[in-house]
Symmetry: C2
Amino acid sequence: MTTKPANNLLLDGLGERDRKSITSAGEMVALRGGELLADVGRAMAYAFFPLDCAIAIVVSQTDQTRLGVGLVGREGMVGVPLILGAAAAPLRAVVQSAGSAWRVDAIALAGRLRASERLRSTLLKYVHVRYEQMAQVAVCKSAHGVEARLARWLLMSGDRLRRADLLLTHELLAKTLGVRRAGVTLAASALQERRLIRYARGRIELLDPQGLAVAACPCYVADKRIYARLLG
Amino acid sequence: MTTKPANNLLLDGLGERDRKSITSAGEMVALRGGELLADVGRAMAYAFFPLDCAIAIVVSQTDQTRLGVGLVGREGMVGVPLILGAAAAPLRAVVQSAGSAWRVDAIALAGRLRASERLRSTLLKYVHVRYEQMAQVAVCKSAHGVEARLARWLLMSGDRLRRADLLLTHELLAKTLGVRRAGVTLAASALQERRLIRYARGRIELLDPQGLAVAACPCYVADKRIYARLLG
DNA sequence: CGTCGTGTGTGCGGCAGCGTACGGACGCGG
DNA sequence: CCGCGTCCGTACGCTGCCGCACACACGACG
C-alpha cells in the first residue's frame, strides 16, 4: 500500500519541507516492550513518532492507581508537553508493543516549531486531539463496564499496529484499564465466548473487529471521529 | 490588595504590550449562572478571561453521563481549543458562579497569537496546565470517594472566586461530580458534621479551608502544584 | 393562610467491581 | 524430565455507589 513499509501519519501529513526538517533532526530507534519513554517529573529529552509500535500514556498517582489515558501509534506522537513548551512530562509513556519509532531531539523540535507555522499548527491540532480524547477517558472509566472498555482498548491497539494479534497479558491490560487482573480475565473470556477474540498466554487475537466495535463503548467511535475531524 | 478590584492572573502575567493587545480586542461582559459559553460541536466565537466568576468545564457524552473536568476562574481562560487552532469546542463550558469576564473575539485572538511569541508561549503553558489537570480528574473520579471529591471541588470554587460562601445546590454539584444528588447530600452532611462547611438551601460556606484540604483528595494539592510549576 | 416549587434528609434493594487467595496450565531452562 | 516462573480460571465476602422513591422544610407568591 504505502511506499515505505511503515510510516508515521502525522509526519506524512506535513509538507515535504517540514517533514524533512523533522526527520533530519532525528533518527530511527527500536523500542522494547515495557520501556519508559517519559516519566513523571522527568524532563523529556526526545519526542517519538511511532512507526509500527504502540505506546500507552499512563497517569499514575502517588497512591496505587493507574489508568491509561491514551494510546499512541503511527497516527500520532509521544511528547505533547514538548509541543506546549513544557520540559517536564506530566504523564508516563510506556511502550506497550515493541517496534520502531522516529526519535527527535527536544531542542531541535522546539527550534523547528518556532520556524514553521505549518508544523506548529499541525502538531497543535494533534494536541487538541489528545486533549479531547483524554476528556473521553475521564468519563469512560466510570460510565462503562470492564468488558466494553477492554474491547475498546484492544481495537485501539489493533488499529495502531495494523495487526490482529497482540502480545498483551491480562495483567498488563488490568493495569492500563485500572481494574483487577481477575476482572480482565472475566471480560476477556466473555468476549472469547462470543467469538470476538481468542487468546492464550499473553497473545490476543482479534477475530471480529466489527463485532468488537459493537461490544466496545461508544468512546471508541468517538475517539476515531475526533481524530478524523481534526487531522483526517 | 490589587490596584483593580478584580484581575485575571493570566493577563497579568503577560507583558504590558501583550496585555493591551488582548484587552483592546475585547470587552467586559457579565455572565449569568447557568449560561453556556461553549457547547459540544459548536464553533467558539469568543474566549473568556474570568475576573470574579467560575466556569465549569463539563464533558457530557451521548448517554446520560456528565463530569466536570475543570474549573476556570481568574487564574485561567475559557477557550483552550482556540489556542490550539481548532474552532469547534469539544467540551461544554457552563457558568457555575455568575460574575464578570473579559471577552475576546476568537479571530482577533488568533491574530494576536500569531504575532506575539510571548503570548503564545504563555497560553500554551496554560493549555498544558489544563491538560495535566484533566489527567488528574480521569483517575480521581474512580479512585476517590464522593466526600473527598466534593471537598476538592468546593475548595477549588473558593479559590477561583476568593470567597468562602458559594451559591451551589447539591443537585448542581452532583451533576459536575458525576454522582447522585443523594450522594452529595450524604457527603456534604458528613463535612458539615466535622465543622468544615456549613450549608443551607443552595448556599455553602467554607468554614475551615485547611481542614477541608485534608479531607479533600490529593488531587487538590496536585492541581495547585501543576499550575504553580508552569505559571507561578 | 394555603399552595407550589425548589432544596434537602433518608431508606432500601441491587450490583459492579474490589481485595484476596488458591489452584491449574503452559513453557522455558537446567 | 523436573522445577519454576508466568499466565489464566475461579471463588468468597465486602463495599461504595446506583436507581428509585418518599417525606419534610423553607420561601415566594397570591
